[in-house]
């Protein structure tokens, strides 16, 4: 299997007419690492991936792979494996022919090609489909073949462009775990693009959140969720309550009658300013009461239940409890709402 390479992207910019898709985008991926680019539609994540693949040109900046200038090379010479959202298997070729395509154009021997195809089919557990055509496979199977095809050439970097978007929820989770297993086994440096935060958090060593063509923050999923660097990241990653609050002093804010510290990455605010405190649903604690805020919605999410509370604010406040604890609350119940965290991030109202 291939050893991972180091991918260094520095100051890449790309505009499409008046739209600036990438703005001084920089990212370094260490050998064998899986990095996800996460962001809303149009944030530039796919453009970044396509520039690395050589399918799009950069207006400025550089991309180096193990110290080698990639932008000077044609897409066909970069030794990069790519998996597309729409599978993109060659419809006129069987599974084996699809997987061997990259090896054939590299003029490997028949014996090596056959051996490599067998290895790849075993890796994605599709040995029995070797002679099938793409239209005879399910979506999940097609994407596994696409992955095998990309890995067959032993790429120095694997690029995945929203590879799970076209799959249904159950298959998506299964293939997601399989991609991670295969990536760890092969040790291939991988750049994964998605707009699905759950997918990004579950699969990555690090997640880069993008907005307006720039990286807002790149960190481990845990850090990203618990210590977001910007209000955009806090709002984009995970569910967040935006609770109207008032700044009491330079470092403190009053939220639902509680005095809490303002987190260091918050926007600059002034004393007395009306702001929005960003509070995670799992940081909201509720207790039964005879009057006060009312339980309006109750959504069962499996092990957790999300409860929507009307506290007389513009939006409902959401609390996430274990489904066992949530049993004691019914819709229409009155509750007290407490925030179980010392500091919150605030943004201008």
């Amino acid at each position: 299997m291939s050893k991972g390479s180091e991918l260094v992207i520095t100051g890449i910019s790309r505009s499409f007419g008046a739209v600036r898709a990438l703005d001084q985008f920089s990212l370094t991926i260490t050998p064998g690492e899986l990095v996800c680019l996460l962001g809303p539609s149009g944030c530039g994540k796919t453009t970044a991936l396509r520039i690395v693949a050589g399918l799009e040109k950069a207006d400025s900046g550089s991309v180096f792979l193990d110290g080698e200038d990639l932008l000077a090379k044609d897409a066909a010479q970069r030794d990069i494996g790519m998996v597309f959202q729409s599978y993109s298997l060659f419809p006129n070729m069987t599974v084996a022919e699809n997987i061997s395509y990259g090896l054939k154009v590299r003029k490997h021997s028949k014996q090596k090609i056959s051996q490599r195809v067998d290895e790849m089919l075993e890796l994605v557990s599709l040995q029995s489909k070797i002679n099938n055509f793409p239209h005879q496979l399910s979506g999940g199977q097609q994407q596994r073949v696409a992955l095998a095809r990309a890995l067959a050439i032993e790429p120095r970097v694997l690029l995945l462009d929203e590879p799970l978007s076209a799959l249904d929820a159950q298959v998506r989770t299964q293939i997601r775990d399989e991609i991670r297993r295969i990536q760890l086994e092969s040790g291939t440096t991988t750049l994964f693009v998605t707009h699905d935060q759950e997918e990004a958090m579950a699969i990555s060593d690090r997640v880069g959140v993008m907005q307006h063509g720039r990286l807002e923050q790149i960190d481990s999923p845990n850090t990203l969720y618990n210590k977001p660097a910007t209000t955009f990241v806090a709002g984009f990653v995970g569910i967040t309550n935006y609770i109207p609050s008032v700044v009491e002093s330079k470092g403190e804010v009053q939220v639902l009658g509680q005095l809490l510290d303002i987190s260091e990455h918050s926007q600059a605010v002034k004393k007395g300013e009306e702001v929005r405190a960003m509070v995670r649903p799992e940081s909201i604690q509720i207790e039964k009461a005879s009057h006060g805020p009312t339980v309006i919605t109750k959504s069962f999410l499996g092990p957790m239940t999300r409860i929507g509370i009307d506290a007389g604010l513009k939006d409902l406040i959401y609390a996430e409890l274990s489904s066992k604890d949530a049993k004691k609350f019914e819709m229409g119940d009155h509750v007290t709402v407490t925030i179980k965290t010392d500091s919150v991030m605030v943004s201008h109202a």
């Binding site: 693949a53 050589g54 399918l55 897409a75 066909a76 010479q77 970069r78 030794d79 990069i80 494996g81 790519m82 597309f84 729409s86 993109s88 298997l89 060659f90 419809p91 006129n92 070729m93 069987t94 395509y101 990259g102 154009v105 590299r106 489909k129 002679n131 099938n132 055509f133 005879q136 496979l137 399910s138 999940g140 199977q141 596994r144 696409a146 095809r149 990309a150 050439i153 690029l159 298959v171 299964q174 293939i175």
Partner: protein, 266 residues
């Protein structure tokens, strides 16, 4: 199981109408072409008659040659054009679309005279100038067919996948683009080929003699022979269509026969 009677009735009526429209006239032609002298008995006399006329084989082979060249030239011109329009030059598609419709809008006389004088003299003096005219006349049909075939596949992604796997542009065209659009390409070829062997107006206007113009001249000598000749031309065209269709689908049939049914699991 509930059977939709209305649907089946409509299909039945449509099939019957098709049979009446297509089968009856051609059956009548075949029967008529087989009639013996003075309408007595049935034999192949009329077919023997036109086969033994001077110029039968030479004109037929010339028309086949011109049709074949028209088909090849059309593909050489239109496959790369349609491919580029789908890959990176989408904004030019309306312009090409308009240009390809022009042969239908411009009267054949104007087209023949205009195009004739725009050609170099060494081409004007050769019957192979007809190949260029046949290509022009076939453009409205071949462009549509190729455009539809290429629209039916995610061509851009397939090409990008091929390139990212290390294939050069020529390799990508040969291994990915052409097979993906094979149905459209064979249809486009057949359309140009059929137009080439069956075109009359332009050939006649430019005073060239091909199988179609020869047919018109020879038909004036023998009524039953002319019907036999028309029937032969029709059956010959159908046979060619079948041969081309079989040739282009042979690989698919072979491959399909090798694979087993698959269960729809992940």
């Amino acid at each position: 199981m509930k059977i939709n009677l209305t649907k089946y009735s409509l299909v039945g009526i449509a099939t019957l109408l098709a049979l009446i429209i297509f089968v009856v006239p051609y059956s009548a032609s075949i029967e008529y072409s087989l009639r013996g002298d003075f309408g007595k008995g049935h034999n192949l006399t009329n077919y023997y008659w036109f086969i033994h006329q001077d110029g039968f084989l030479s004109h037929l082979s010339l028309s086949l040659e011109l049709g074949l060249l028209a088909g090849i030239l059309n593909l050489l011109l239109m496959v790369p054009t349609a491919t580029m329009l789908h890959l990176s030059l989408q904004r030019y598609k309306p312009i090409v679309d308009f240009i390809c419709i022009l042969p239908l809008m411009i009267p054949v006389v104007s087209l023949a005279v205009g195009a004739e004088y725009s050609m170099p003299s060494f081409i004007q003096n050769s019957q192979f100038e007809l190949v260029f005219f046949f290509v022009i006349l076939a453009l409205p049909f071949t462009f549509r067919v190729l455009d539809s075939a290429l629209s039916a596949v995610p061509l851009k992604t397939l090409v990008e996948a091929s390139r990212s796997l290390g294939a050069s542009w020529p390799s990508t065209i040969i291994r990915v683009v052409l097979p993906a659009a094979r149905g459209g390409i064979s249809s486009a070829f057949f359309l140009s080929f059929a137009l080439g062997i069956g075109e009359y107006t332009m050939t006649s206007l430019l005073h060239w003699e091909t199988f179609t113009t020869w047919t018109v001249v020879i038909s004036q000598q023998n009524l039953l022979g002319s019907i036999a000749l028309s029937t032969f031309s029709f059956l010959f065209a159908v046979a060619l269509l079948v041969v081309i269709a079989i040739a282009t689908s042979r690989r698919k049939i072979r491959k399909n026969s090798e694979i087993q049914l698959v269960e729809e699991t992940v």
